[in-house]
């Protein structure tokens, strides 16, 4: 049942030009940045030769690329997630799901997985760029895998926030703005906290702090747990919110 809803969501996403536009624009921007990083690598290549333990292609090109990708996706995810529930609420199609023999959790998970599947397609396209480097060089696959895993976890969190925000309103733009605001807030939490009393706690909650280790090739179960909890929290909120539709008045 969850898979049915997920596939339906994925299909409907590709029925609208929005999904295709997003794929194209993200790819274009990241390709531009990717070329920039390669250019830089070529400039510093001669200096690297003189170093004892020089950073490789992966550290100079791939890690910054994935770092950029995170920022671009932070802007893009709200645009994809905004319509998930709010559009159904507005068009009154939610009652189709509510009167079908499906639980609220299945509805939320179905929609969530549909969105995550789309984002992972996007991620696969992004991953093709570093992989293209194999044509003329070699990569540190462990580091690349850690970076991609980090981005996957990050996107899972982004998607959960987006889905939750979409359950709150029937206006897609409101959902998009709220998602973007929330994500940005979590991204910059540790900046604001500097010098304050609760800085340590805020730093712990920041998305960025739990993404950067992956880019350095460090896989920490604490980071993994953070991302999974982050996504699970917002999915629970989303289920509760939809339940409120039935119970509240």
């Amino acid at each position: 049942m969850i898979v049915t809803i997920a596939l339906h969501e994925l299909r409907r996403m590709f029925l609208s030009p929005l999904a295709w536009t997003i794929l194209a624009v993200v790819q274009l921007i990241l390709a531009f940045l990717f070329l920039g990083h390669i250019e830089y690598f070529q400039q510093v290549q001669s200096q690297l030769l003189g170093m004892d333990n020089p950073p490789g292609l992966t550290e100079i090109v791939v890690a910054p690329l994935l770092g950029n990708a995170a920022i671009v996706l932070l802007l893009v995810v709200p645009l994809v997630s905004m319509r998930l529930v709010s559009e159904e609420r507005r068009n009154k199609t939610l009652s189709l799901l509510f009167s079908a023999p499906i639980s609220m959790t299945e509805i939320v998970l179905g929609k969530y997985l549909g969105l995550v599947a789309f984002l992972y397609i996007l991620l696969a396209l992004i991953a093709l760029m570093p992989l293209a480097l194999l044509l003329g060089g070699s990569l540190d696959f462990g580091m690349l895998a850690a970076g991609l895993l980090g981005l996957m976890l990050l996107l899972a969190g982004f998607a959960a926030v987006g889905l939750f925000m979409s359950t709150l309103t029937q206006h897609q733009t409101v959902a998009a703005v709220a998602t973007f605001g929330m994500l940005l807030l979590f991204w910059i939490l540790d900046w604001a906290g500097e010098g304050l009393a609760g800085a340590g706690v805020l730093g712990q909650l920041s998305l960025l702090n739990h993404y950067e280790p992956f880019l350095k090739g460090v896989f920490d179960t604490a980071d993994l747990a953070y991302h999974l909890l982050f996504a699970a929290t917002f999915l629970t909120f989303a289920v509760r919110r939809l339940d409120m539709d039935r119970l509240g008045g």
């Binding site: 049942m1 049915t4 339906h8 068009n91 009154k92 009652s95 509510f98 079908a100 023999p101 499906i102």
Partner: protein, 315 residues
């Protein structure tokens, strides 16, 4: 009317904040029965429908569908329901076929039977020609039929239709009524409407809801009886003295209507129409109209809620 009980509603209330939209409503529906929910706008019809289909949780009371409690055991209960809300829940960017296939999956129809179920539903709702068209490009009438196809796709024992004829043209309304009657043979159907002839045309039983309370629950014959008031509208070109009319057997009172016609009140069961025509002929009164006056839905509401109105009216 001896089918098994499909829907059992017990003392259900629903509050929105301080407003009590539905108050202690109880009723049941049997197989092979079409139950009409009649009421003016804002009476609580849609709230009732939404509670029956699990879109809203009742504040009080319980609902059982095909023997399963809707709150404790929602999945089997919901499997027994087909629901067409006021606005058909269709995705405008899908074709009719795609949409029905998705609904079939949502309604857990086994994969092998899905195509056949979709075909059958399309046939019943005369959608076979538009299967490959986008729902968003179809007219309102067709969208309504797609919504209905979705509701009957899995052959549920209970079909709940919220204002199924809203926005249809007269021919489509007739088709829809025929379809509802046909569905009523095998399924239990609950339909809500604010149009009286609709209930008379397609229902076996009627419930009138007013301000969230059930004020009447009766079969269709009983409703017709209640609708018949003992008033005749009489048009005479050369009316005699009122006393001459009063003398006719059965007549209790005569009242002049605004346009020169007369309103003749008579004892129930003692219709003076025949005597009136005979007299009019004999005395050459120039009879040009004699018609029984049917109470309108509003009259009926007024009658049924008169007690409320009397107590609520300012002195």
């Amino acid at each position: 009317m001896s089918g098994e009980i499909l829907v059992q509603v017990d003392g259900v209330s629903r509050r929105y904040g301080d407003i009590e939209a539905v108050k202690h409503v109880s009723f049941s529906l049997r197989q092979g029965e079409v139950l009409g929910f009649l009421g003016p706008n804002g009476a609580g019809k849609t709230t009732c429908m939404q509670m029956l289909t699990g879109n809203l949780a009742p504040s009080e009371g319980c609902i059982a569908i095909a023997g399963h409690d809707l709150l404790d055991d929602p999945k089997p209960a919901k499997r027994a329901i087909g629901y067409l809300p006021e606005q058909p829940p269709v995705y405008r960017d899908l074709t009719v076929d795609e949409y029905l296939r998705y609904c079939a999956a949502l309604r857990v129809i086994p994969r092998a039977r899905r195509a056949a179920a979709c075909e059958a539903a399309k046939q019943k709702c005369t959608l076979t020609d538009v299967g490959r068209r986008l729902i968003g490009n179809l007219s309102k009438g067709y969208q309504q039929r797609v919504g209905l196809a979705q509701a009957i796709l899995h052959l549920p024992p209970v079909i709940v239709l919220d204002e199924p004829t809203a926005g249809l043209d007269p021919i489509q309304i007739r088709e829809m009524r025929g379809l509802i009657r046909a569905l009523g043979r095998d399924h239990g159907v609950i339909l809500s409407t604010h149009i009286l002839p609709e209930v008379q045309a397609s229902c076996d039983r009627v419930q009138i809801i007013h301000n969230g309370e059930l004020v009447l629950s009766d079969d269709i014959a009983g409703l017709s009886r209640r609708m018949q008031s003992s008033v005749l509208l009489l048009g005479l070109r050369r009316p005699p003295a009122l006393a001459a009319l009063q003398a006719i057997a059965g007549v209790t009172a005569i009242e002049a209507a605004d346009d020169g016609r007369l309103r003749v009140f008579y004892e129930a069961g003692n219709d003076p129409s025949e005597a009136l025509t005979r007299q009019a002929h004999v005395h050459d009164w120039g009879l040009y109209e004699l018609s029984p006056q049917h109470a309108t839905l509003e009259d009926l509401f007024v009658k049924l809620t008169a007690a409320d109105a009397a107590t609520a009216a300012p002195p």
